[in-house]
Amino acid sequence: MAQEAQKEKSMIIQKEMVSGLFNDLAKAKETGKKVCYTFIPGNLSELIRVFDMLIVYPEINALQSAMRKKSATYIKEAERHAHSEDVCTYVKCDVGMMLKGNIGPTGEKIPEPDVLLLSYTGCFTFMKWFETLKREYPNAEVIMIHTPYQENAEMTPQMTQYMVKQLKEVVIPKFEKVTGIKYDEAKLKRHLELSAEAEDWITKIFDTTKHRPSPIDAYFAGVYYIGPINIGFRGTQQAVDYYKELYKEIMLRVEQGLGPITPEGEMKEEKFRLVVEGPPNWTNFREFWKIFYDMGAVIVASSYTKVGGVYDMGWRHDPSRPLEALAEYCMNCYTNLNLPQRVDLLAKCIEDYEADGYLTNSIKSCNSFSAGQLGMMREIEDRLEVPVGFIESDLVDPRYFSYSNIKNRLESYFQMLEQRKLIKAHEAAEA
């Protein structure tokens, strides 16, 4: 189909970007490029680019391992080495992969880090994770940049200054030391300009779910869309080009009145529009998605696509204040928002995208998301009188994905949504 061919163009660009990244990593030793491990939330891609380093994201390796059905083995390996059953499975998957030789998703060995950059944003486990990695890689330079939490729903000048000082006096000097490259602010500004541009495009893309039918699924397909902006391409022309192309393709779907593309082709009928809170399950990603599209449910917004940055409230990297922009970016990632802010953001999504329901996918091993989710759900239910649903799974531990449980729960939830629709239609007809 013509639409699918166009869809593929952006997919091809993305594939090329990702494989280029892994190729560069595989050749890091030959090219002499330094390797920096860091996390997605609060990632300082633009700054890392100024120092010409290659980036490894341990969580991406973990989720890729899960999608390739390798995570169970890695997790067991970590558990054999004293890791508890009950902690974040991303950590265990990563540790297990390392214990088994650190072979990455492409089958190549992932190079060891020269730098462990912990931009400690929105999740306490990140800190423990890097404490663990530091013991495995004693020669790596460790850099911690502490991101204050938006506890009072604000980024105060003091918080920003605290981060800027860390950037100036800790992060940048250590980057200079490891790479031998001098900090070039003009270069950083250029990257930040491109970041802001990519952020504009991705905001527009996720905003297309306003249309009926929604041309995209903002969760299951959304996780692919956020790839480039999150995995180191933010701040590059490549990312801007990718998002432009993607937007063009999506708008074509809008013009044609088409729904989202699923792994089994185009979704024919949009029955339910949902906002989803919480990360997806990666071990059974396709099966999980299928339950939704088989039922005609499309996700019109999700919190997970905001973990690497929240752009829909208007915030952008500002090249005229480069270090302040990096600081604010870190502070403004989804899991660094306090619970009332998260509720406001999701409530806005429900209203803006006219969602029929609000669904929580609670991840067993992720306290950063899960602790407090039930309170958030109650508040949204009270405030918007929208039907709420709740399912449980895990990110990368297949032991905690129960297909039948999830399917049963979702079926009941969709029945409830269906009934509510009928009642509403009836009320409207009577009015």
Partner: protein, 394 residues
């Protein structure tokens, strides 16, 4: 001077008074007094004291509070303490407490601050971000700003302006408090039979919910008592308990460990009261800076402090050595990420160093510990058997 038994009984009552009666009375005794609740682990209580307030440690409901409402807020795979704290709040046990501080120890406590905000509990809710940057001019300054923020909240309630003089006085009181607590541990290192760890626990925990002046008076007397050669030594090994710094094990479990053949010569149950090692300077005209310096330079190791520059496994190994302990018990609250994620770091290092350990998990509301008692008993027996083997530490 009161008898030791009398003092212990008083502390027992205070430590688990989930209605926080003494704090409430204290507040009512004088106009302008403020109560500030704080969650584990640590908060510089000096700041609240100097502002005319009293810090009230909220350590959860343990096995003494039935959870009915709290469970509706937390999934089964989240530790127990947030639901019991919420239960206390929803059952109005915390109504007389003016504001609440949530120190940055983990995402659960962090997000609990959001639930308190959502439920509009207290006049203020402050998530207290402790710095993870340990340079005085960066992290130190940020920490001072965080403390000023708390002082600002209290001032909004009672109008009290904190002066350097007041703060130095408060620091002095807490210095004395910590000094006496350490004295108790030092005595117990040699003579652990003089005071059981259960009694120590009650004595220190009581200090979290009564005025520091009153707690100091109790500690003075306890210290006098244990200078005497009291109690009978028993054939037990010496161990250190690590990992139980937030959600607390039931008292029955604390007791069971000693009953199963171990003298606990150090622990982190009440880490917050012992976080700062040694005194904080009371002579400066910048006492907030002194508190922040102490946090940066004199903190005990903790799961909530980024440690790559001062690895925790060596810190704990040093405690084991200094206390002359035979081994370590890693006790973690179920689903406690900070404690459980530290466990492999400790255990892998201790395997290399030849320090013996066992590990188990508990939940504050569970008071059945037959299996744990057996495990501890076996551990103690095995160490006694190997008594002659040299143990290599740091």
């Amino acid at each position: 001077m009161k008898s030791l038994e009398q003092l212990i009984n008083e502390c027992k009552e205070q430590a688990f008074d989930l209605k926080f009666t003494r704090a409430k009375e204290w507040k009512e005794e004088k106009e302008g007094r403020v109560l500030v609740g704080y969650m584990p682990i640590y908060f510089p209580r000096e700041v609240i004291h100097a502002a005319g307030g009293m810090a009230v440690g909220i350590m959860g409901g343990g096995d003494r509070k039935q959870i009915i409402k709290g469970d509706a807020y937390y999934q089964s795979y989240i530790c127990h303490i947030p639901r019991s704290i919420l239960e206390l709040a929803l059952d109005k046990h915390l109504d007389h407490i003016d504001g609440f501080i949530f120190p940055s120890i983990c995402d659960v406590i962090r997000n609990l601050s959001g639930i308190f905000r959502q439920q509009k509990i207290g006049k203020f809710v402050k998530y207290m971000d402790f710095p993870q940057n340990f340079l005085p001019e960066i992290g130190g300054v940020f920490y001072q700003q965080e403390m000023e923020h708390v002082m600002h909240y209290i001032k909004e309630i009672n109008g009290v302006e904190v002066t350097a003089e007041k703060l130095n006085h408060s620091i002095g009181l807490y210095n004395r408090n910590r000094e006496m607590i350490e004295f108790i541990y030092d005595i117990r290192q040699e003579f652990p039979w003089r005071l059981s760890i259960e009694d120590v626990y009650h004595i220190i925990r009581a200090g979290m919910v009564i005025p520091v002046e009153e707690h100091n008076a109790i500690l003075e007397q306890v210290c006098e008592h244990i200078k005497e050669n009291i109690g009978e030594p028993q054939d037990k090994i010496k161990i250190v308990v690590s990992g139980a710094f937030c959600e607390q094990p039931a008292v029955g479990l604390i007791r069971a460990i000693e009953q199963a053949g171990c003298y606990v010569v150090d622990d982190d149950y009440m880490l917050g009261s012992r976080m700062i090692l040694g005194d904080i300077d009371t002579t400066t005209d910048k006492p907030l800076e002194a508190i922040s310096q102490a946090y940066i330079n004199q903190s005990q190791y903790s799961s909530s402090i980024y440690d790559v520059h001062d690895p925790k496994e060596y810190r704990l190994a040093k405690i084991v050595k200094d206390r002359g302990a035979d081994g370590v018990i890693f006790a973690s609250a179920s689903f406690c990420d900070p404690s459980l994620l530290d466990a492999p770091i400790f255990q892998n290092a201790f395997d290399r160093m030849g320090i013996r350990y066992i590990a188990f998990q508990y939940s504050e509301n569970i008071n059945q510990f037959k299996v744990i008692k057996e495990q501890v008993g076996t551990f103690s027996d095995s160490i006694k058997l190997w008594e002659d083997e040299p143990v290599e530490t740091v």
